[in-house]
């Protein structure tokens, strides 16, 4: 295993130590270590089935790990529901298939979670929702339903919805994989601007352009292991591992 240049040893936003995870008998994560500093942007890539989605889903406990430790902003993820709530309060997530609530308007999608999980007054929640919809540049769609929007627009709403909760960390699970090619750019632009503002981000993606432009470090995973962690320049120009080279050859023609 390769040890990456550690940006921070203290004050890390996310610390993952020796994490193992099984789905029934399938060993999905194998002794994974990863330390993410506050404000750091990490891109996770790897072939399908390598465990990259599982890894970030463990960070907000959508999946539970069975061995090792995951500590997010100083709170350890274990069986304690209080801890899980505390972590989810600080961690926002964007999904491959957007997962907007189809029975609610765009505005309600952004406002209702604030009302339900933080007991925010409706007026404040809607005001905040509008501010963030403006930020992802679709305030004019606020009264529409998700089904009436394009994929790119839906994903931008999903980002706004997550940002409404004031997260300190954002997780992106293949945010552009389900999009038509012409819509990838508008979503990446929002993500880049978020990165520029110093948001701590972990992004599972195959968009190597985004990795080069916005990532501090790139993590390559294969068969449940972290194979290589490096700064983008090093990662793309001189990958150390054979499997990394093979993967990069396949996705960059």
């Amino acid at each position: 295993m390769m040890h990456a240049p550690q940006t921070a040893t203290t004050g890390s936003a996310i610390r993952i130590e020796g994490v193992d995870k099984w789905f029934a008998s399938f060993h999905a994560l194998k002794a994974v270590d990863l330390d993410v500093a506050a404000g750091e942007r990490i891109v996770v890539c790897g072939p399908s089935g390598s465990g990259k989605s599982t890894l970030i889903r463990c960070i907000n406990r959508l999946e539970s790990h069975q061995q090792g430790r995951i500590v997010v902003n100083g709170v350890e993820l274990n069986e304690s529901l209080k801890n899980i709530d505390a972590v989810r309060r600080d961690v926002g997530m964007v999904f491959q298939h957007f997962n907007l609530f189809p029975h609610l308007t765009v505005l309600e999608n952004c406002a209702l979670p604030q009302i339900l999980s933080r007991v925010t007054p409706r007026r404040d929640a809607e005001e905040k929702a509008m501010t963030l919809l403006e930020r992802v540049r679709i305030p004019e769609q606020a009264q529409k339903y998700p089904g009436q929007l394009s994929g790119g627009q839906q994903q931008r709403v999903a980002i706004a919805r997550a940002l409404c909760m004031n997260p300190r960390v954002m997780l992106f699970d293949e945010p552009t994989s389900a999009l038509d090619p012409e819509m990838v750019k508008e979503v990446l632009e929002v993500m880049v601007s978020l990165a520029e503002e110093g948001m701590t981000m972990i992004v599972v993606t195959h968009e190597m352009g985004f990795a080069k432009e916005a990532a501090d470090r790139v993590v390559f995973m294969d068969q449940g292991r972290v194979v290589e962690i490096a700064e983008p320049r090093v990662f793309f120009d001189s990958p150390k591992h054979e499997r990394t080279r093979h993967f990069l050859n396949q996705i960059i023609h």
């Binding site: 961690v91 298939h97 609530f101 029975h103 339900l116 999980s117 009436q148 909760m165």
Partner: protein, 363 residues
């Protein structure tokens, strides 16, 4: 590209799609299959002509003398004479403004509850208050209204109240059963499966007998639960078992990502179920929910077996009046028409609801 998109369309681009009108003859006799169906339908209508004659031309519409009703023609004058009895049963005649007011309350409340925009906790509270008022009106015994025991209630208000109360009490029960059946924990799942399967496996008539005859024998003597109440309980349990399975179908149709997204946003679990999962699940199963509601409205007529005096019982017993020449057909047709109006109304309403949902999910 952009210039092209903004340029004004030419005349050819503005052309509406071509409409082909099919001549009527082709619609009904265009191919062998439609021709056969059309001939069969005409034959059926022809065979119904005598019945139509019976119901209209040969019918006696207005008379005070039952003797004028004769064989071969419908006796609608009977319905006019017995209208109050069919609608209100043996409820004291001078007090029948009370059940009439109850029907009016039900209609009024239903009308204001139709648009989904009106659904709120306020409306729910309104319904609870309205139902309490309806029961108080039916019972009386205060403010100068004489007390009327449930044994004397009858006709349309009983049918409507049984349908309304059994469905609205069954619905929350059904939600709990459906959630229980999908739970990861063994005990809730087992309890839900058992109750659903046992109740679904019994005929409603059997349940009604158990509720009206066996329950009083099993319970201690001091517990006297009203017969109408016991009947309502049986109908509620029956409806809950069927509704639970319909709702479970809807829950299965909600993608897993919905719950995950809500969890990731930190929404507490029961609020996820109530605000995110259930509304979507119910929207997906409006047609089978409607179906169950319609079946339950008609199932209330089975209570006549245990001696509850609903509208069908009232119609039946009205026709046994020896003064009139046993006009059972007329009575049943009239009662049937009222059932049809209620059920068709529910059906139209559900179609309207579905259109509303489709219009915002269009892609």
């Amino acid at each position: 590209m952009a210039v092209y998109a903004h340029s004004s369309p030419t005349a050819a681009e503005m052309m509406p799609p071509p409409v082909r009108r099919t001549p009527l003859r082709e619609v009904f006799f265009g191919d062998l299959f439609s021709a056969c169906l059309s001939v069969a339908a005409i034959g059926l209508l022809w065979s119904l002509l005598p019945a139509l004659n019976w119901a209209t031309l040969d019918a006696v519409w207005v008379t005070d003398d039952p003797g004028e009703c004769r064989a071969g023609g419908a006796c609608w004058a009977f319905i006019a004479d017995k209208l109050r009895f069919i609608l209100f049963g043996i409820y004291p005649p001078e007090e029948q403004w009370r059940p009439l007011l109850v029907i009016g309350l039900i209609l009024g409340m239903t009308l204001i509850s139709l648009p989904p925009k009106a659904w709120s906790t306020k409306l729910l509270a309104g319904w609870i208050a309205a139902i309490a008022a309806m029961l108080a009106l039916m019972w009386g015994g205060f403010a100068g209204m004489s007390f009327v025991p449930t044994g004397k209630w009858g006709g349309l208000p009983v049918t409507l109240l049984l349908a309304l109360l059994s469905l609205s009490l069954a619905f929350p029960l059904a939600v709990v059963l459906a959630l229980g059946r999908r739970s990861n924990r063994v005990v809730p799942r087992l309890l839900s499966v058992l109750s659903i399967e046992i109740v679904r496996g019994l005929p409603l008539v059997g349940l009604l007998f158990v509720a009206s005859i066996m329950l009083p024998l099993l319970l201690p003597q001091s517990w006297t639960i009203d017969k109408l109440g016991r009947t309502l309980a049986a109908l509620t349990i029956f409806a809950a078992a069927y509704l639970a399975e319909v709702i479970r179908g809807g829950l299965q149709g909600v993608p897993q990502g919905q719950g995950e997204a809500a969890e990731a946003l930190g929404i507490p679990r029961w609020k996820i179920v109530w605000h995110i999962i259930l509304p979507q699940a119910i929207q997906k199963v409006i047609p089978p929910l409607t179906n169950t509601a319609i079946v339950m409205v008609k199932n209330t007529s089975l209570v006549l077996i245990v001696g509850v005096f609903d509208m069908l019982s009232a119609g039946r017993s009205a026709a046994t009046d020896p003064e009139w020449p046993a006009p059972f057909a007329e009575s049943y047709i009239f009662v049937g028409a009222i059932y049809f109006l209620i059920c068709f109304g529910i059906s139209l309403y559900s179609r309207w609801l579905e259109e509303g949902i489709h219009s915002r999910e269009y892609k």
